[in-house]
Symmetry: C2
Protein backbone atom coordinates (compact mmCIF):
# COMPACT_ATOMS: atom_id res chain seq x y z
CA UNK A 1 0.00 0.00 0.00
CA UNK A 2 1.78 3.11 -1.06
CA UNK A 3 0.06 5.94 -2.81
CA UNK A 4 0.32 9.56 -1.88
CA UNK A 5 -1.98 11.46 0.43
CA UNK A 6 -4.96 13.37 -0.89
CA UNK A 7 -4.65 17.16 -0.89
CA UNK A 8 -6.97 17.41 2.08
CA UNK A 9 -5.00 14.81 3.96
CA UNK A 10 -1.73 16.47 3.16
CA UNK A 11 -3.02 19.85 4.21
CA UNK A 12 -4.18 18.51 7.54
CA UNK A 13 -0.92 16.70 8.18
CA UNK A 14 1.15 19.73 7.33
CA UNK A 15 -1.02 22.01 9.42
CA UNK A 16 -0.82 19.64 12.35
CA UNK A 17 2.91 19.19 12.10
CA UNK A 18 3.58 22.88 11.80
CA UNK A 19 1.41 23.68 14.77
CA UNK A 20 3.01 21.00 16.86
CA UNK A 21 6.47 22.38 16.26
CA UNK A 22 5.64 26.03 16.78
CA UNK A 23 3.35 25.66 19.73
CA UNK A 24 5.59 23.38 21.74
CA UNK A 25 8.56 25.60 21.21
CA UNK A 26 6.59 28.67 22.16
CA UNK A 27 5.17 27.25 25.36
CA UNK A 28 8.50 25.83 26.47
CA UNK A 29 10.18 29.12 25.76
CA UNK A 30 7.67 31.21 27.68
CA UNK A 31 7.77 28.87 30.62
CA UNK A 32 11.54 28.92 30.79
CA UNK A 33 11.70 32.68 30.34
CA UNK A 34 9.21 33.45 33.07
CA UNK A 35 10.07 30.76 35.60
CA UNK A 36 13.04 28.75 36.75
CA UNK A 37 11.88 25.43 35.38
CA UNK A 38 11.23 23.52 32.17
CA UNK A 39 8.19 21.56 31.01
CA UNK A 40 9.53 18.21 32.18
CA UNK A 41 10.35 19.82 35.53
CA UNK A 42 6.76 20.97 35.89
CA UNK A 43 5.45 17.57 34.94
CA UNK A 44 7.49 15.96 37.66
CA UNK A 45 6.89 18.58 40.34
CA UNK A 46 3.15 18.48 39.79
CA UNK A 47 3.02 14.71 39.75
CA UNK A 48 5.02 14.42 42.96
CA UNK A 49 2.82 16.95 44.68
CA UNK A 50 -0.30 15.20 43.47
CA UNK A 51 0.83 11.82 44.73
CA UNK A 52 2.09 13.11 48.04
CA UNK A 53 -1.01 15.17 48.77
CA UNK A 54 -4.10 13.99 47.11
CA UNK A 55 -3.37 10.31 47.33
CA UNK A 56 -6.07 9.22 44.88
CA UNK A 57 -6.10 8.39 41.20
CA UNK A 58 -7.66 11.74 40.55
CA UNK A 59 -5.97 13.94 37.99
CA UNK A 60 -7.44 17.22 39.17
CA UNK A 61 -6.30 19.23 42.13
CA UNK A 62 -8.69 20.03 44.94
CA UNK A 63 -9.07 23.58 43.76
CA UNK A 64 -10.04 22.55 40.26
CA UNK A 65 -6.49 23.06 39.17
CA UNK A 66 -5.16 20.75 36.54
CA UNK A 67 -2.10 18.90 37.58
CA UNK A 68 0.30 20.79 35.39
CA UNK A 69 -1.95 20.38 32.40
CA UNK A 70 -0.42 16.98 31.96
CA UNK A 71 -1.74 14.40 29.54
CA UNK A 72 -3.85 11.49 30.77
CA UNK A 73 -2.37 9.99 33.85
CA UNK A 74 -2.15 6.28 33.18
CA UNK A 75 -4.11 4.00 35.49
CA UNK A 76 -2.48 4.86 38.78
CA UNK A 77 -0.92 2.36 41.13
CA UNK A 78 -0.30 3.74 44.58
CA UNK A 79 1.87 2.02 47.07
CA UNK A 80 1.94 3.59 50.48
CA UNK A 81 2.11 7.20 51.52
CA UNK A 82 5.57 7.65 50.17
CA UNK A 83 6.21 8.47 46.54
CA UNK A 84 8.12 5.65 44.87
CA UNK A 85 9.85 6.24 41.59
CA UNK A 86 8.10 3.42 39.77
CA UNK A 87 4.64 4.51 40.91
CA UNK A 88 5.40 8.04 39.83
CA UNK A 89 6.66 6.88 36.47
CA UNK A 90 3.56 4.77 35.89
CA UNK A 91 1.26 7.57 36.85
CA UNK A 92 3.02 9.97 34.52
CA UNK A 93 3.31 7.50 31.67
CA UNK A 94 7.10 7.89 31.72
CA UNK A 95 9.71 5.18 31.58
CA UNK A 96 11.64 4.56 34.78
CA UNK A 97 14.84 5.45 33.10
CA UNK A 98 13.50 8.75 31.88
CA UNK A 99 12.17 9.66 35.29
CA UNK A 100 15.35 8.56 37.02
CA UNK A 101 17.41 10.85 34.85
CA UNK A 102 15.01 13.75 35.22
CA UNK A 103 15.03 13.30 38.99
CA UNK A 104 18.80 13.30 38.93
CA UNK A 105 18.92 16.65 37.17
CA UNK A 106 16.25 18.07 39.46
CA UNK A 107 17.95 16.80 42.57
CA UNK A 108 21.17 18.53 41.54
CA UNK A 109 19.22 21.76 41.24
CA UNK A 110 17.58 21.26 44.61
CA UNK A 111 14.01 20.90 43.34
CA UNK A 112 13.40 17.45 44.74
CA UNK A 113 15.07 15.15 47.24
CA UNK A 114 15.46 11.39 47.29
CA UNK A 115 15.19 9.92 50.76
CA UNK A 116 15.78 6.23 51.46
CA UNK A 117 12.46 4.43 51.86
CA UNK A 118 11.98 2.84 55.24
CA UNK A 119 9.44 0.25 54.17
CA UNK A 120 11.42 -1.15 51.29
CA UNK A 121 15.14 -0.65 51.14
CA UNK A 122 15.34 -0.88 47.36
CA UNK A 123 15.38 2.65 46.14
CA UNK A 124 14.11 5.90 47.56
CA UNK A 125 11.08 8.07 48.04
CA UNK A 126 10.80 11.31 46.17
CA UNK A 127 9.94 14.53 47.97
CA UNK A 128 9.48 18.12 46.93
CA UNK A 129 11.90 20.53 48.53
CA UNK A 130 10.74 23.98 49.57
CA UNK A 131 12.44 25.30 46.46
CA UNK A 132 10.60 22.74 44.36
CA UNK A 133 7.25 23.76 45.78
CA UNK A 134 8.04 27.41 45.22
CA UNK A 135 9.15 26.79 41.67
CA UNK A 136 5.95 24.92 40.93
CA UNK A 137 3.84 27.69 42.41
CA UNK A 138 5.54 30.15 40.11
CA UNK A 139 5.52 27.99 37.05
CA UNK A 140 2.00 26.69 36.99
CA UNK A 141 0.21 30.00 36.39
CA UNK A 142 2.80 30.90 33.80
CA UNK A 143 2.09 27.72 31.93
CA UNK A 144 -1.65 28.05 32.16
CA UNK A 145 -1.45 31.61 30.90
CA UNK A 146 0.66 30.53 27.98
CA UNK A 147 -1.78 27.78 27.10
CA UNK A 148 -4.63 30.25 27.33
CA UNK A 149 -3.00 32.89 25.20
CA UNK A 150 -1.49 30.67 22.54
CA UNK A 151 -4.09 27.96 22.40
CA UNK A 152 -7.34 28.15 24.31
CA UNK A 153 -8.36 31.74 23.70
CA UNK A 154 -7.48 31.57 20.03
CA UNK A 155 -10.30 29.08 19.48
CA UNK A 156 -14.07 29.37 19.63
CA UNK A 157 -16.17 26.96 21.65
CA UNK A 158 -17.16 24.93 18.59
CA UNK A 159 -13.53 24.79 17.53
CA UNK A 160 -12.48 23.57 20.96
CA UNK A 161 -15.13 20.88 20.80
CA UNK A 162 -14.18 19.85 17.28
CA UNK A 163 -10.49 19.70 18.13
CA UNK A 164 -11.17 17.65 21.24
CA UNK A 165 -13.20 15.16 19.27
CA UNK A 166 -10.68 14.85 16.50
CA UNK A 167 -7.72 14.41 18.81
CA UNK A 168 -9.57 11.94 20.96
CA UNK A 169 -10.64 9.97 17.90
CA UNK A 170 -7.08 9.80 16.64
CA UNK A 171 -5.71 8.79 20.00
CA UNK A 172 -8.35 6.12 20.36
CA UNK A 173 -7.83 4.88 16.82
CA UNK A 174 -4.16 4.54 17.41
CA UNK A 175 -4.37 2.79 20.74
CA UNK A 176 -6.84 0.26 19.40
Amino acid sequence: VSASLSPGQRRAWTAYRTLRLDLDARLARELEDRSAVSMPDVDVLAAVRAMADGAGTDSTGTDGWPVALAPDPRPAARTAHCVRVAALADRMGWSRSRLSRQLGRMERRGLIARVPCELDGRGDDVELTAAGRAALDTAEPVLVDAVRVHFAEALTEPQLAALSEICEALTHHQRS
Copy 2:
Protein backbone atom coordinates in the same frame (compact mmCIF):
# COMPACT_ATOMS: atom_id res chain seq x y z
CA VAL B 1 -4.20 37.27 34.42
CA SER B 2 -4.40 33.88 35.99
CA ALA B 3 -7.57 31.92 36.26
CA SER B 4 -7.97 28.31 35.32
CA LEU B 5 -9.04 27.01 31.93
CA SER B 6 -12.67 26.29 31.19
CA PRO B 7 -13.65 22.62 31.00
CA GLY B 8 -13.86 22.84 27.22
CA GLN B 9 -10.47 24.46 27.02
CA ARG B 10 -8.94 21.93 29.32
CA ARG B 11 -10.43 19.04 27.41
CA ALA B 12 -9.04 20.37 24.15
CA TRP B 13 -5.60 20.97 25.60
CA THR B 14 -5.43 17.53 27.14
CA ALA B 15 -6.67 15.87 23.98
CA TYR B 16 -4.15 17.75 21.91
CA ARG B 17 -1.27 17.03 24.22
CA THR B 18 -2.10 13.36 24.48
CA LEU B 19 -2.37 13.01 20.74
CA ARG B 20 0.86 14.82 20.17
CA LEU B 21 2.76 12.49 22.45
CA ASP B 22 1.25 9.26 21.20
CA LEU B 23 1.23 10.03 17.52
CA ASP B 24 4.78 11.29 17.33
CA ALA B 25 6.10 8.31 19.19
CA ARG B 26 4.14 5.93 17.01
CA LEU B 27 5.26 7.42 13.72
CA ALA B 28 8.88 7.61 14.79
CA ARG B 29 8.76 4.03 15.97
CA GLU B 30 7.25 2.66 12.80
CA LEU B 31 9.68 4.57 10.66
CA GLU B 32 12.67 3.34 12.60
CA ASP B 33 11.38 -0.22 12.67
CA ARG B 34 10.74 -0.42 8.96
CA SER B 35 13.64 1.61 7.61
CA ALA B 36 17.20 2.48 8.51
CA VAL B 37 16.55 6.11 9.34
CA SER B 38 14.86 8.44 11.82
CA MET B 39 12.47 11.33 11.30
CA PRO B 40 15.18 13.98 11.41
CA ASP B 41 17.16 11.89 8.93
CA VAL B 42 14.25 11.88 6.53
CA ASP B 43 13.74 15.60 6.94
CA VAL B 44 17.34 16.23 5.99
CA LEU B 45 17.55 13.70 3.18
CA ALA B 46 14.38 15.00 1.57
CA ALA B 47 15.42 18.62 1.92
CA VAL B 48 18.83 17.98 0.40
CA ARG B 49 17.31 16.10 -2.49
CA ALA B 50 14.75 18.84 -3.04
CA MET B 51 17.36 21.58 -3.10
CA ALA B 52 19.78 19.66 -5.26
CA ASP B 53 17.16 18.61 -7.79
CA GLY B 54 14.21 20.84 -8.03
CA ALA B 55 16.04 24.08 -7.44
CA GLY B 56 12.95 26.22 -6.79
CA THR B 57 11.16 27.36 -3.69
CA ASP B 58 8.53 24.77 -4.35
CA SER B 59 7.78 22.39 -1.56
CA THR B 60 6.24 19.65 -3.68
CA GLY B 61 8.12 17.11 -5.70
CA THR B 62 7.58 16.82 -9.44
CA ASP B 63 5.44 13.75 -9.02
CA GLY B 64 3.16 15.40 -6.54
CA TRP B 65 5.17 13.89 -3.76
CA PRO B 66 5.49 15.88 -0.59
CA VAL B 67 8.99 16.59 0.46
CA ALA B 68 9.05 14.20 3.35
CA LEU B 69 5.77 15.52 4.64
CA ALA B 70 7.75 18.27 6.21
CA PRO B 71 6.20 21.35 7.78
CA ASP B 72 6.15 24.66 5.88
CA PRO B 73 9.43 25.34 4.29
CA ARG B 74 10.37 28.83 5.32
CA PRO B 75 10.89 31.37 2.55
CA ALA B 76 13.71 29.73 0.64
CA ALA B 77 16.98 31.39 -0.18
CA ARG B 78 18.94 29.54 -2.82
CA THR B 79 22.54 30.25 -3.51
CA ALA B 80 23.97 28.42 -6.46
CA HIS B 81 23.50 24.87 -7.55
CA CYS B 82 25.32 23.53 -4.58
CA VAL B 83 23.54 22.92 -1.30
CA ARG B 84 24.97 25.14 1.40
CA VAL B 85 24.29 24.34 5.03
CA ALA B 86 22.80 27.72 5.84
CA ALA B 87 20.42 27.65 2.88
CA LEU B 88 19.32 24.18 3.82
CA ALA B 89 18.80 25.21 7.43
CA ASP B 90 16.73 28.22 6.39
CA ARG B 91 14.63 26.18 4.05
CA MET B 92 13.97 23.59 6.73
CA GLY B 93 13.36 26.09 9.48
CA TRP B 94 16.22 24.55 11.50
CA SER B 95 18.98 26.33 13.33
CA ARG B 96 22.43 26.01 11.81
CA SER B 97 23.72 24.35 14.87
CA ARG B 98 20.99 21.75 14.81
CA LEU B 99 21.57 20.98 11.17
CA SER B 100 25.31 20.86 11.62
CA ARG B 101 24.97 18.25 14.35
CA GLN B 102 22.46 16.23 12.40
CA LEU B 103 24.69 16.31 9.33
CA GLY B 104 27.59 15.15 11.46
CA ARG B 105 25.69 12.10 12.62
CA MET B 106 24.45 11.37 9.13
CA GLU B 107 27.88 11.76 7.62
CA ARG B 108 29.26 9.23 10.10
CA ARG B 109 26.59 6.80 8.94
CA GLY B 110 27.34 7.47 5.29
CA LEU B 111 23.99 9.02 4.42
CA ILE B 112 25.35 12.35 3.25
CA ALA B 113 28.74 13.77 2.35
CA ARG B 114 30.23 17.21 2.90
CA VAL B 115 32.40 18.34 0.04
CA PRO B 116 34.38 21.59 0.13
CA CYS B 117 32.57 24.28 -1.85
CA GLU B 118 34.54 25.63 -4.77
CA LEU B 119 32.76 28.95 -5.02
CA ASP B 120 33.14 29.94 -1.39
CA GLY B 121 35.80 28.33 0.73
CA ARG B 122 33.95 28.85 3.99
CA GLY B 123 32.23 25.59 4.67
CA ASP B 124 31.02 22.79 2.49
CA ASP B 125 28.28 21.64 0.19
CA VAL B 126 26.02 18.84 1.26
CA GLU B 127 25.37 15.89 -1.03
CA LEU B 128 23.34 12.73 -0.78
CA THR B 129 25.36 9.56 -1.01
CA ALA B 130 23.98 6.55 -2.85
CA ALA B 131 23.16 5.07 0.53
CA GLY B 132 21.36 8.24 1.50
CA ARG B 133 19.26 8.18 -1.64
CA ALA B 134 18.43 4.54 -1.10
CA ALA B 135 17.51 5.11 2.53
CA LEU B 136 15.21 7.93 1.54
CA ASP B 137 13.55 5.83 -1.13
CA THR B 138 12.84 3.19 1.46
CA ALA B 139 11.78 5.53 4.21
CA GLU B 140 9.42 7.85 2.41
CA PRO B 141 6.70 5.33 1.59
CA VAL B 142 6.98 3.91 5.08
CA LEU B 143 6.38 7.32 6.56
CA VAL B 144 3.50 8.14 4.26
CA ASP B 145 1.85 4.85 5.04
CA ALA B 146 2.21 5.49 8.74
CA VAL B 147 0.70 8.93 8.38
CA ARG B 148 -2.15 7.47 6.36
CA VAL B 149 -2.89 4.68 8.76
CA HIS B 150 -2.51 6.55 12.03
CA PHE B 151 -3.73 9.95 10.98
CA ALA B 152 -5.24 10.61 7.57
CA GLU B 153 -7.50 7.60 7.17
CA ALA B 154 -8.81 7.85 10.69
CA LEU B 155 -10.48 11.14 9.83
CA THR B 156 -13.41 12.05 7.58
CA GLU B 157 -13.13 14.79 4.98
CA PRO B 158 -14.95 17.31 7.18
CA GLN B 159 -12.70 16.41 10.08
CA LEU B 160 -9.61 16.88 7.95
CA ALA B 161 -10.86 20.28 6.88
CA ALA B 162 -11.76 21.30 10.41
CA LEU B 163 -8.42 20.18 11.76
CA SER B 164 -6.56 22.03 9.03
CA GLU B 165 -8.42 25.21 9.78
CA ILE B 166 -7.93 24.98 13.50
CA CYS B 167 -4.22 24.23 13.27
CA GLU B 168 -3.68 26.94 10.71
CA ALA B 169 -5.57 29.43 12.84
CA LEU B 170 -3.47 28.61 15.87
CA THR B 171 -0.24 28.80 13.95
CA HIS B 172 -1.23 32.11 12.47
CA HIS B 173 -2.40 33.47 15.80
CA GLN B 174 0.87 32.57 17.38
CA ARG B 175 3.09 33.96 14.67
CA SER B 176 1.25 37.25 14.61
